[in-house]
Symmetry: D2
Subunit: 305 residues, 4 copies
Amino acid sequence: MDIQIRTDLALETRESFEGTNVEIKGVVLEEEKRCDDSIKVTRVIIKNREGAAAMRKPIGTYITLEAEKLRDDVSDSNLSGIALELSRYIRELLPVMQNGKILIAGLGNKDATPDSLGPETIERIQVTRNFNEFYGENGWEISCIAPGVMAKTGMESMEIIKGIADQINPDVVIAIDALAARNAKRLNTTIQLTDTGINPGSGVGNHRKGLTKETIGVPVVAIGIPTVVDVATIVRDIMDNLIEMFSIRDEYKELTDGEQYQFIKEITSPEIRTLYVTPKDIDEDINVLGFILSEALNNIWKKTE
Amino acid sequence: MDIQIRTDLALETRESFEGTNVEIKGVVLEEEKRCDDSIKVTRVIIKNREGAAAMRKPIGTYITLEAEKLRDDVSDSNLSGIALELSRYIRELLPVMQNGKILIAGLGNKDATPDSLGPETIERIQVTRNFNEFYGENGWEISCIAPGVMAKTGMESMEIIKGIADQINPDVVIAIDALAARNAKRLNTTIQLTDTGINPGSGVGNHRKGLTKETIGVPVVAIGIPTVVDVATIVRDIMDNLIEMFSIRDEYKELTDGEQYQFIKEITSPEIRTLYVTPKDIDEDINVLGFILSEALNNIWKKTE
Amino acid sequence: MDIQIRTDLALETRESFEGTNVEIKGVVLEEEKRCDDSIKVTRVIIKNREGAAAMRKPIGTYITLEAEKLRDDVSDSNLSGIALELSRYIRELLPVMQNGKILIAGLGNKDATPDSLGPETIERIQVTRNFNEFYGENGWEISCIAPGVMAKTGMESMEIIKGIADQINPDVVIAIDALAARNAKRLNTTIQLTDTGINPGSGVGNHRKGLTKETIGVPVVAIGIPTVVDVATIVRDIMDNLIEMFSIRDEYKELTDGEQYQFIKEITSPEIRTLYVTPKDIDEDINVLGFILSEALNNIWKKTE
Amino acid sequence: MDIQIRTDLALETRESFEGTNVEIKGVVLEEEKRCDDSIKVTRVIIKNREGAAAMRKPIGTYITLEAEKLRDDVSDSNLSGIALELSRYIRELLPVMQNGKILIAGLGNKDATPDSLGPETIERIQVTRNFNEFYGENGWEISCIAPGVMAKTGMESMEIIKGIADQINPDVVIAIDALAARNAKRLNTTIQLTDTGINPGSGVGNHRKGLTKETIGVPVVAIGIPTVVDVATIVRDIMDNLIEMFSIRDEYKELTDGEQYQFIKEITSPEIRTLYVTPKDIDEDINVLGFILSEALNNIWKKTE
């Protein structure tokens, strides 16, 4: 009952409550459709401590865009359409900015394809801070960094970004990261935005220290896309299929959602636990998603000018 | 009983027979230890049609090096030691060569880390064919190619390599490929060599057309390392743990190995079936393995000169 | 007088004749402007042996697009506009195709930025040959290959492409290559198309064996962009400035264009001769040019469908 | 006379004085040979303001290793030998360290081959800071970062490194950078070490803000290798050849070294001025040099343990 269910998506945490229609105190749920109903947008707002305790996530807004069409249609026009929607929701989460200074951080390991979403996006961001410095312009100041991963730098992403933020004083940090999902059908089709930043333990690389307003000193908007599911999640899906076919003993049926997950983790051998599960053509997915995210981010300051 | 078990390793096929001591007609099994017992070498020789039918693999020799130490010790001296052993076994499988002409082919997708073993290895091969052409030397003629994957080139690896082989007339093609294993503990620690080439359906990318003496026109020695396991395999491992804990109905227990595997595949939802399972730090593993393979291959012609 | 002037651009060879208005027998020169005069298109048609001897280039058509705007405007709309024009001229040079089968070859070294234009373009080509094979479609069959460079493969690009072409029987090969220009202001703004293929000695990597209908067996359309100038060219430009300022002895003034070039090559020390000259931000240029070329090529079969 | 001569090498500045035997006040020159005379080591020590004014470089030690053998012998044993020597000289320049904490910064643009020395080196550094954090060890704490270039991040390298240094408090920063040389024969064979850091305007990318003890807050040891020469330098070399062959008017002969350089810069057209000159096989050189530097740096803490 007290067991933490591993998912980076607020949407999946919300779904784990018995019915999606059950009201949770302190949590508001809003849904809308966009782009001829091809994008389903869910807004989970955790309003107070009670909601945060129930959801086991910080107070704040979590917007999820589900674009299943992404699986089949990667035409420029479809991708640009999604990017445009996305930039609208990103702007919704940005704080009031005094100077229009944004530091975009692409988290993750550029050399491990499923974890390379952040660095891949950063490659296509159009920075402007350098022009402002040269020409004394007074527009948006975009800068970006791919901090790399601890195994290669010896440092937490948080330390690097905090250090840079202290130097250049952005109004906001936008952090992009590859996430883990519980549900395989969400892989590479669901985008989560939140104004609560990145919390410890989340992301494919399992950041040990979070990127939040508390650690960085300025608001952090996080953009995440699940590119992997962990092995225990896969097994759990299969168990759900199995219990109908076998006469599983009653205890299992009576376990809570979290307990079942923990149980499966226990019967999973250690070699398997450190593995992750990802699509065979992950490089093409990352390429498409990096395009969408960079388009959306490049749009933010273009459109508001 | 007739169900094909998915593994690229002859060793694993052999193990799937009820006891490893059972003799299979037409199949010879030899084992030895190397490097202070840190490398276990298994030679499976399929001698005739009877053995080929039992093993569901072509007649030929399959040498497997298991180097579990690779998990913990990636010092230069350990890696060079393994490379030296490896080059000895590769030489064992090379045909008698009239001209010492070798074409090395690094199969797989350079942009999807678990499938990038072949291209990564090719990057470090020291080619010599160009020098021979310039200086009229008469030594080994090494050339190499990374043919890419069908989704990006529109062509089978086989077609590209066949075409090149027809142009440059090598004595042998050595093909390097990332494989799928059934047993997660073999990931990135087991190296399989075979003089039977690469057969249709094998490899992470599931080559549709094989690379064999029949298709290429010259002998093909294949070097493969399992870098992924497929999802059904993971589930099967877990089922083995489960049946002891639950009163699974008798039918399941009575299923053969292959039938159990097929059964699990059936209860696995389609979204999951196209996924693969790979270690979190796969980029570091590929780096280490690419070093070992290229060292071993570069050694072949250096040492025999 | 007999000295070969090093330039890969027919346009520059043509300019080296004393006045551009002088008529050369067997050579037709046509000019037009496109895109609101922002692109200057020059068509040099070498009609017979006499023209070929004068131009020291094979009989055929050479179309040059000069888009100086590329220096300042890299907006998507400008790049797409250039790509659209380009695809029109590429189609003009394609032979009559029985099956619509095209093999696109991206020549050059992906790891040396100024020589990476070909491989960079290939990365973004949408291949279709694999779909035709799967679905039995009857449309255009696009496949592509980046053959790498001899220092890394041990093989000529020609050998690899010839081998592949023999396997898949394309109607035409389109080869993309980084070129050397004589005039620094042409760097990364001029695109040359020709139906004569790639001739020995051309390209940044100085292909020793050409890619032509004779060597490959099917027509070869070459697309080249100068991304480097060689050092002797730079020096020659400067000499032109110098002779007005110094009392250079008369002999120099009386040298022909080619003799002056050779003279400068002689006074240039060997260390310098193997160097090339390229812009500081060459990676951004290659990125932009790879986008334009891939867009143009992807357009070819989309628009004609 | 007052014109700044563009070279990042103290050795070349020293050579520009009329004879290398002339004593310059405040500047000490020491030479030694290493590795069977295959490496020439020159130590230029600028002792006071007078020396700094004469050399136009900050007070400090500049050690130059010239290893011409690098051109011909890239065997592992030769490269490891050079790396071992190099690590000895790097240690000589390190300050007394209280905690053995080193931040290694690989400056430059990973996507433009001649400027990619720093990032390429960083790829192979073995970091240890993360292990110390996990296991509470008390050994050397190595961390590293490739800050990227301003055109892509919007930030100065200095800002990023200063920010990180403030977070992790290293005892010293070691900065690796690709340099510009005046003499083409120094390309990719000369390594300069200095305890004065990196000064504004140096490096291929022309850092606008320096990395020094003043800007970063801790001592900065810089390791640089010239991978490009600028065009004006090339021209100047050729002018030296020309003046013997032509009757250049007397004024030119009477110009000082710096004035001649400036003169040539003036007669060089703007298109040419932004170009750089680099070897054709720069990618192989960078690969070799990145190996040497990373080996040398990885040796530092291994050998002193």
